[in-house]
Symmetry: C2
Subunit: 140 residues, 2 copies
Amino acid sequence: MAEACEFCASPGGPVLWQNDSCRVVRVDEPDYPGFVRVILNRHAREMDDLQEAERAALMSVVFAVEAAVREAMRPDKMNLASLGNMTPHVHWHVIPRFRDDRHFPNPIWAAPQRDRGPPHAEREQRAAGLAAAILRRIAG
Amino acid sequence: MAEACEFCASPGGPVLWQNDSCRVVRVDEPDYPGFVRVILNRHAREMDDLQEAERAALMSVVFAVEAAVREAMRPDKMNLASLGNMTPHVHWHVIPRFRDDRHFPNPIWAAPQRDRGPPHAEREQRAAGLAAAILRRIAG
């Protein structure tokens, strides 16, 4: 537990799935329905700070979540990233990308390529199936 | 092999290390000495398209490279990302980040936070030791 660490102090979003070592949370980002984060429960700064077994266990969740997001959202591309410059507590961004999304083909952190459109009703609906898809993939 | 795929048609940069399944290349980006990419040799679109053993083998290289870059560059933070929106051929960005780098604490794809300074002579020198550090980590 690190003082003043956002991901030690709070879940970081609505929890879709969790076990003893990590949790999967929904990211509240209107431009990106289906965007989730996989957050290590204990405080560690870098993937390189994890023991091999812990790292492998975390990545098996990340890739199960990638598969679940891909299945539920049917995106044009999946993006995975572990950055942590602002919150140096190991976490992975798992982001479904669409050709017509706000930043495509750039990363979501780059300058927008187009205006925010109307809410993505169909994508929001698909995202509602994410918790079930994650559970299936992790159980399977 | 996919037609018109940049990473099928060319190595993607000076090769620092390689085996049958992937290669590690230096990225020519003056703002980011020590930035490397790990590129899967065969064409695959998503990590999710890899079989589990192939995925695990690739990630063991990615994490060995992360450790080597951290050791050689001594950055403030490591960033890892697999995006592929422009070149949908599995590859990982492994980026050493420094508090005074051009975009910190934002991702390197975001708007710059500060002007480009003079060349980072000391960091360029550290980056010259990367191939040796990668070899040690992967052999180890």
